[in-house]
């Protein structure tokens, strides 16, 4: 069997997944923190001022990576949902749901920093700009996924339903974004002056941005894996490997799927 396929199959087993997450989690966290520290220092202190916006443009190093992550994580969630529905892999269900709060948080950060950025550049915290509106709708979609998961009692059913909603949402995201752009240009052609940066960002401004994009992905990996670990423990509590992990003696648990002796 192909090595990757083998790895993929092994990851379907909760104890293997738990061990994998335990091993890689610190690496993700520390590399994310290190890259963030360097990139933010460079972006906030060393990169030159924008000739138009002065220092206020520096929020880009938080805002843009967060907005990217908001969309990236939704895609990841939908892929997990697809895997969960097609192959019924427990870990995919868990990873999808573990991603949702992280994605919602990044989307909320993108909205908050965007409105803070809008104040000095547009003169207002909120305008019904196409991008702002579609990001807001994206946040609502995240809330829908999380809300659906919370509302269904059966955890596995809940995770699969939330995954399907993520897929439906993913199909709709481009349509929503397109329609919102269309709506905005229909109603107010040029009353908002979005201070578009020139198509070529200076390299000294660009690389901290790309570094932040990498750092946020590493952070996401850490955060989602940590959440997934907890959910795995919760779901598998009572199983032998979890008891062993907690330092408890093994027991022949009465509720497992092994058939009782007649």
């Amino acid at each position: 069997m192909n090595r990757f396929v083998l790895w993929f199959h092994r990851m379907g087993s909760p104890p293997t997944f738990y061990a994998f997450a335990e091993r890689w989690r610190p690496w993700f966290l520390w590399s994310a923190l290190a890259i963030t520290a360097v990139a933010l220092y460079w972006g906030l202190a060393r990169a030159p001022d924008d000739y138009l916006q002065g220092d206020s443009f520096r929020i880009i190093y938080i805002h843009v990576p967060s907005a990217w992550m908001g969309q990236f994580i939704f895609l990841a969630m939908a892929i997990c949902g697809f895997v969960a529905i097609v192959w019924r892999i427990k870990i995919a269900e868990i990873m999808g749901i573990a991603s949702a709060p992280v994605g919602a948080a990044f989307t909320a950060i993108a909205l908050a920093t965007g409105s803070l950025w809008g104040r000095p550049t547009w003169g207002t915290y909120w305008v019904w700009d196409a991008r702002l509106t579609s990001t807001l709708v994206l946040l609502f979609l995240y809330f829908g996924v999380i809300g659906l998961y919370r509302a269904i009692e059966d955890r596995r059913k809940a995770a699969r339903a939330a995954g399907l909603l993520a897929i439906i949402g993913l199909v709709n995201i481009p349509i929503i974004q397109y329609s919102v752009y269309w709506w905005n240009t229909l109603h107010q052609p040029s009353s908002i002056k979005v201070t578009k940066m020139s198509s070529t960002i200076d390299p000294s401004m660009l690389w901290p941005l790309l570094a932040m994009a990498v750092a946020t992905k590493l952070y996401y990996a850490w955060s989602a894996l940590s959440r997934a670990q907890l959910m795995v423990l919760e779901m598998e509590s009572g199983k032998d490997w979890v008891r062993e992990l907690a330092g408890l003696p093994r027991v022949a648990s009465p509720s497992t799927d092994t058939p009782r002796e007649a």
């Binding site: 709708v137 829908g144 809300g147 659906l148 399907l164 909603l165 329609s179 229909l186």
Partner: protein
């Protein structure tokens, strides 16, 4: 008993749903009354000034229709999920997507179509430009099936719950943003002397996309809920 073909099964389901609709026709009237009342709230809240009302009339009618449609969605699979018919449909061996499509069609005939027919009345109450009335009806004729299709997927996702309550709105409303934008956009364009055909074509394109996909999503959701 002879096993039915997919088309006879879908037709039987459609006939049953329409019969139920007819037997409970007073209930079927509720979305219309709701739409009428919501449309009455807007002049009360915004003031009776005719010029302002006629400017926002198209948008109000669309919001009203979206909300009325939303309220009717919870009942779409709820009763069948509670008495077990939904499980029977899922294990019947017939293509579930087709059955879901029949259910959605019945829902549209019971909700979307009457709303489309009553919309000119609402629009007239609010003083929408006469010229925009045909466009409003055309946009609703294309948009309300879309609302039913998208809404049915979300309603099917909530069948595993005891009560969907406000959550259904949270799921449905973000997904209906494009329908609202293009629907209200078409009316707005017609009322201000523009060309509504672009928005209408977008609605038609959305309908063409959702018609095959939404029943499939709906069936997948039902399988998750009843598994």
């Amino acid at each position: 008993m002879r096993p039915g073909t997919p088309s006879t099964a879908a037709l039987a389901l459609l006939r049953r749903d329409l019969l139920l609709l007819w037997r409970q026709r007073a209930d079927a009237l509720n979305p219309l009354l709701f739409a009428l009342m919501v449309a009455t709230l807007f002049p009360l809240a915004l003031g009776p000034e005719a010029g302002m009302l006629s400017r926002v009339a198209g948008g109000i009618v669309w919001v009203t229709v979206v909300l009325a449609n939303l309220l009717s969605l919870d009942a779409l699979f709820r009763g069948d999920a509670e008495d077990g018919s939904l499980d029977q449909l899922a294990v019947s061996g017939q293509p579930l997507a087709l059955l879901a499509g029949a259910r959605i069609l019945a829902h549209w005939l019971g909700t979307g179509l009457p709303l489309t027919l009553v919309a000119p009345l609402l629009a007239y109450m609010l003083g929408l430009e006469r010229a925009a009335l045909p466009v409003l009806v055309a946009a609703l004729a294309l948009g309300t099936p879309l609302l039913s299709l998208v809404g049915a997927c979300c309603a099917a996702l909530t069948v595993a719950m005891r009560r969907s309550g406000i959550l259904l709105a949270l799921l449905v409303l973000p997904l209906t943003v494009p329908v609202l934008i293009f629907g209200a956009g078409a009316v707005e364009a017609a009322a201000t002397g523009g060309d509504p055909s672009a928005a209408l074509l977008f609605l038609a394109a959305g309908l063409a996309l959702a018609l095959p996909l939404a029943p499939l999503g709906c069936a997948a959701a039902i399988r998750i809920g009843t598994a």
